[in-house]
């Protein structure tokens, strides 16, 4: 039986300073501080259990990471359980741990609102109309890419080699409905010029499997840093995805991936549906917006990415029909309905899903504008439309004008800016931050460090992503008037003692 797919998304935003000069690191720090500064107490990040150099294949790669251990400059933990920080030269938000694909959509939308609030605060702080603008995209069109990573809880005992080869089929072909679209190309292939692609990211992948995320990017990333009990779980760190503006695309991206991973865990993935030469095929699929490009499967069958997706859909349908479980938090039915809808639309007339699929929505704008003004391909205004599709300023965002279908209400998004998901350990983290910000020295995905006035500090480990939920911990929190009472109630078996780390 597949594990419940606890999941989340981490998005690096593109950033621009307008009306003043600042390095991207400074601009990102100013942006985040403008928001975090409004919180009652800034909570540090606990780096004690961070191991980005651990490889799922069973070794460590020290040198690759030495120069790029994360900036400790700005690192805020929010009351909704999210993390908001500077990663390299970008502002990044990781959603809290979510229990369903719909919840990921909600917290991804809340993250967008947090970025917008940060931009607004900056505009008020900066003189003479200067502003910091964030873009929810993944490339600058000049060969520089930044990520939108997904994370899924998978069982440690699923053999990683099988997991990697089977999930690659989905990662290479799912771009037909979750690609965010791109004008132009950033890497050479077959000496051809490409006007428009399905994916922002396909240009940047060079390996099938590997540990890196910034160089020689692999389709399957092997970072083995589960942020939970490593004997039971992996966190599959997915780096191939585009940041979506369409809520339905985010829902489908996370929902279908959760289902396919569950099918792999349960040994129900169709074994002949592994495709040959996935790195090159990912680029070729991205570069053919007629969706006709055929890939070859390991048993020699030639099929388009759309057909591969239809076969995956049918395999999932069969898998779910034989199971009483819903491994994606109650969303399986809705995911299947929308997956079918989007595939039917793409099979008959891609323009019919312009309200769901980002690359289709963006292409309509780009092509419509090009025709209206008689512009040559490669005209900068067409690339400007591409970039501005992802602009986080309401006044400039083109995605918000493109008629995209929404899935979550504004009221729920506003709530999710400050309230954590109830079903995961994010609830305990968020509620503790709301109630006792002065007593929390540092927090992390899998722990909270309290200073309750006794030496040494008290660290509460949270190694189970589905514990710490409202159902499990509300009574405990309600009965604790102070952080000290909470620590006392948890008792010696549930807490550890630690000494302060630099930066807390």
């Amino acid at each position: 039986m597949a594990l419940q797919k606890v999941c989340g998304i981490e998005t690096e935003y593109g950033i621009m300073s307008r009306g003043f000069d600042a390095s991207p690191v400074t601009a990102s720090s100013v942006l985040i501080n403008a928001y975090a500064g409004t919180m009652p107490q800034k909570i540090g990040w606990d780096f004690l259990d961070e191991n980005p150099a651990n490889d799922a294949r069973g070794f460590r790669l020290e040198q690759a990471f030495a120069p790029e251990i994360e900036s400790h400059l700005v690192n805020a933990v929010l009351t909704n359980g999210a993390r908001y920080y500077v990663d390299h030269a970008h502002p990044e938000i990781s959603t809290p741990e979510c229990a369903s694909a719909r919840q990921v959509v909600l917290y991804d939308r809340a993250a967008e609102e947090i970025v917008k609030l940060s931009m607004k605060s900056c505009s008020e702080l900066l003189p003479n109309g200067a502003e910091i603008v964030a873009y929810k995209n993944n490339s600058d069109g000049k060969g520089n890419s930044y990520g939108c990573h997904e994370n899924y809880l998978v069982a440690r005992d699923t053999p990683f080699g099988r997991l990697a080869s089977q999930i690659t089929t989905h990662f290479v072909t799912r771009q037909v409905f979750c690609g965010a679209g791109k004008v132009g190309q950033e890497t050479e292939l077959d000496g051809k010029t490409v006007e428009y692609q399905l994916s922002q990211r396909a240009d940047f992948f060079e390996e099938e499997v590997g540990l890196e995320t910034t160089l020689k990017r692999p389709i399957v990333n092997t970072r083995d840093e589960p942020h939970c009990d490593p004997t039971k779980y992996r966190r599959l760190h997915v780096i191939v995805g585009d940041a979506n503006m369409s809520e339905v695309a985010t829902f489908l991206k996370v929902g279908t991936t959760g289902l396919v991973l569950s099918m792999i865990e349960d040994g129900a993935f169709p074994k002949d549906l592994v495709i040959k030469d996935p790195v090159s095929q990912m680029k070729r699929i991205s570069r053919d917006d007629t969706l006709r490009h055929a890939v070859e499967t390991v048993n020699g069958r030639r099929v388009s990415a759309l057909v591969v997706q239809r076969l995956l859909f049918e395999a999932c349908e069969k898998y779910l029909a034989n199971s009483d479980d819903d491994p994606i938090g109650g969303d399986a039915n809705d995911v299947m309905v929308l997956w079918d809808e989007v595939l039917c639309g793409l099979e008959s007339d891609p323009d019919s899903v312009a309200h769901i699929v980002d690359w289709v929505a963006k292409r309509r704008l780009v092509q419509g504008y090009q025709e209206r003004h008689g512009l040559q391909s490669g005209h900068p205004r067409l690339k400007a439309i591409d970039l501005q599709y992802h602009d986080m300023r309401e006044s400039h965002c083109l995605a918000s004008r493109a008629g995209l279908r929404t899935m979550v209400s504004n009221a729920d998004v506003v709530d999710a800016i400050s309230e954590p998901p109830k079903e995961t350990r994010a609830w305990f983290r968020g509620k503790c931050l709301q109630r006792w910000p002065e007593q929390i020295v540092a927090a992390n995905w899998d722990s909270i460090v309290f200073d309750v006035g006794i030496d040494p500090l008290r660290r509460v480990p949270m190694m189970e992503p589905l514990r710490g939920s409202e159902a499990l911990t509300k009574a405990l929190l309600d009965s604790s008037k102070t952080a000290g009472e909470l620590i006392e109630a948890l008792g010696a078996t549930d807490i550890e003692t630690v000494y302060p780390e630099p930066g807390w």
Partner: protein, 78 residues
């Protein structure tokens, strides 16, 4: 007070309260709010609105698109 946050102490197992898919085909089990109606309407509406939308793009597109595209330079991330 054990097991609420951490499993090695063998506490309460989180209840899995998610709903099970109905046994009917998912194509029939339309739980997403009236998707079909919304979809066909939206398709037509988007087509009709494309002209208005292109007008709007003229209004909101960066005035100097060439400079904007040139100056949009990011450092790699991740």
């Amino acid at each position: 007070m054990t097991g609420l946050l951490h499993s090695r102490y063998g506490g309460v197992v989180a209840e899995r309260t998610h709903k099970t898919r109905p046994s009917s085909s998912p194509r029939e089990g339309q739980q997403v709010e009236s998707e079909d109606a919304v979809a066909s309407d939206t398709g037509d509406r988007i087509k009709a609105e494309l002209d208005d939308l292109l007008d709007e793009i003229d209004d909101v597109l960066e005035t100097n698109a060439e400079d904007f595209v040139k100056s949009y330079v990011q450092k790699g991330g991740e």
